[in-house]
């Protein structure tokens, strides 16, 4: 199978899954619509009904990790092609990637020492 045919197959698979969800929706819809009742469609909250939107400023408390992650994440892009040719090149590849990862690990250590790796 050519590469393009494989991508087309994956796309068709995704479309099929969406179709499954739509048909479930259709079956459910054909069995009847939910009756309108007061307070039925209010999202769950503890104790009282919450009528205001909750989309306000919310702090997730892992900003330090997120910042380090954004930069550290890019190392994967270089690692995969390297892993494929690793056996072929041998020691040279090991040293190259060793230097690269050591540099990145310095960044991680710096973040750790500055307290990026804790709850903000």
């Amino acid at each position: 199978m050519s590469a393009l045919a494989q991508y087309a197959l994956l796309l068709a698979l995704a479309a099929g899954v969406v179709g499954l969800a739509l048909s479930l929706h259709g079956i459910s819809r054909s069995l009847g619509k939910p009756r309108e009742e007061e307070g039925k469609d209010v999202p769950a909250t503890a104790g009282k009904l919450h009528r205001d939107p909750v989309w306000a400023r919310y702090h997730v408390r892992y900003y330090g990790y997120a910042l380090l992650f954004l930069a550290f994440d890019m190392e994967m892009a270089f690692m995969y092609p390297w892993a494929v040719v690793y056996k072929e090149l041998g020691l040279v590849a090991l040293l190259d990637m060793g230097v690269f990862l050591a540099i990145l690990f310095l960044g991680l250590l710096y973040g750790w020492s500055q307290g990026a790796l804790r709850r903000q």
Binding site: L70, A71, M74, A77
Partner: protein, 102 residues
């Protein structure tokens, strides 16, 4: 010949949309989104040139990886600056950032 031109056109329009966004938005994060859209346009052009003009020259793909790194790094540094500014002022609206002007 057609696919190359379509890809280049997509890259050019993405660049225009990103330029509009980066210039018109007042919020730091939205400005960065504009920059990301522009860099996305650059990525399309890179892949199109690699695919249709020099498919055996792999430095083109290396360059793609570098541009992608730049995308991630500009976000990391941008959010760093934004967080510092948010701590100091409580907002990241760029119209209020007068002291950054020379």
């Amino acid at each position: 010949m057609m696919p190359l031109y379509i890809a280049l056109a997509v890259g050019a329009i993405m660049f225009g949309v990103g330029l509009y966004g980066a210039l018109s938005q007042t919020n730091l994060v939205m400005i960065m989104m504009g920059v990301e859209v522009m860099l996305g346009g650059a990525l399309v052009n890179l892949v199109a040139f690699w695919r249709f003009l020099h498919p055996t020259a792999y430095p083109g793909q290396t360059f793609f990886l570098i541009i992608m790194t730049v995308m991630a790094l500009d976000m990391a540094v941008g959010f760093g600056v934004g967080t510092a500014r948010f701590r100091a002022r409580g907002s990241v609206e760029m119209e209020e950032a007068r002291e950054l002007k020379g």
